[in-house]
Amino acid sequence: MSDWPLWEVFVRGKRGLNHTHAGSLHAPDAQMALRNARDLYTRRGEGVSIWVVPAAAITASSPDERDSFFDPAGDKVYRHPTFYDVPEDVEYL
């Protein structure tokens, strides 16, 4: 059974709005992956919803592409919303 596929697990907590990555596990199919995820990642009451995704279905950026992907964003200060004057009487900002 060592050829069971790998699944990535995403759990949404009680007060959380998003599913966040919790870890990965092996399971023979999606339904069993959900159950294994329940046993591995929600046994201390961490979650109210689980997603499982076959790890093979995830396309990830490559470390080799890091320079071209991410470095150019480093010096574009004008992309951050820091050039506006906020009027004093605007609340909740």
């Binding site: 059974m1 069993m32 159950r35 294994n36 329940r38 591995l40």
Partner: protein
């Protein structure tokens, strides 16, 4: 609620104490058997699944044995025996578990077949018990209400595996059928109307064991047929566990489970 208040005059506390011991012993001994799978399951994920199920059962056993000890104290006049006293310092003949839970863990398919049978039975039992919340014994109904959600998951786990092994490869199909065939002689005993259970059932405290059978069989049959397997027709049937007559295997389970507290009484860690 104190046991004195809970136990009505209609029911002998002896019957209630023995009934709780029986249910508690079933859960306790199966906990031991499931614990044997730790580090030996097909995958680490399955180690966790079986371990979680075992711990749920241990929790049920603790509540049931504690309550049995309290009820027992109402008629013995002795201090109540604790859950540990009952788990570690009773001998084989004083255990009231069914033979099903005593059997060695076998291969994975056998263990899944046993979980299918036992968790379906427990679900039927606990869901009926929890609906008896207005019964003369709310303690038992309360224990059942908590346990029924746990057992619902245990049943699902066993059903999912039964379907996959039965409708899987030729080898997994063969093993799953062999597991069912090995387990089925122990099914009948779960539904035996013991004197204690019958007395409690007539007072409306517990469901009659035989009345749970139809619901269980319907559920098993549906899963087993969907898994392309056959419901076995056993030629022998175990009996006697509820009266303390056990298969040869229980003694070995107890030796392992009881050895430390008996060799080092009062030790803690």
């Amino acid at each position: 609620m104190s046991p004195e208040a809970a136990v009505t005059t209609q029911v002998r506390p002896q019957a209630l104490a023995r009934y709780c011991l029986a249910l508690g012993d079933d859960a306790l001994i199966l906990t031991q058997r499931l614990g044997e799978w730790m580090s030996r399951a097909p995958q680490i994920e399955e180690d966790m699944a079986l371990g979680n199920i075992a711990l749920d059962l241990l929790g049920q056993a603790r509540a049931l044995l504690t309550y049995a000890g309290e009820v027992e104290a109402t008629y013995t006049g002795e201090p109540a025996r604790s859950e540990d006293d009952l788990a570690f310092f009773r001998d084989e003949r004083e255990f009231r578990c069914v033979h099903l839970v005593e059997q060695p863990r076998g291969d994975f398919a056998f263990s899944i077949a046993r979980q299918l049978v036992f968790s379906t039975y427990q679900y039927a039992l606990y869901s009926r018990l929890s609906r008896l919340a207005t019964s003369p014994d709310p303690t038992l109904a309360g224990i059942a209400a908590k346990a029924v959600k746990e057992v619902d998951y245990h049943r699902d786990h066993a059903e999912q595996w039964t379907l996959r092994l039965g409708d899987g490869t030729q080898e997994s199909h063969r093993r799953m059928q062999a597991g069912l065939d090995e387990v089925w002689p122990y099914v009948d005993e779960l539904f035996t109307d013991t004197e204690d259970a019958a007395e409690l059932a007539s007072a409306g405290v517990v469901p009659l064991p035989s009345s749970l059978r139809e619901e269980c069989e319907r559920r098993w049959t549906a899963v087993i047929e969907q898994a392309t397997l056959q419901v076995p027709e056993p030629t022998r049937r175990s009996r006697g566990g509820r009266e303390g007559i056990h298969s040869e295997h229980l003694g070995y389970v107890l030796a392992e489970m009881q050895h430390i507290p008996r060799s080092y009484p009062g030790s803690t860690w």
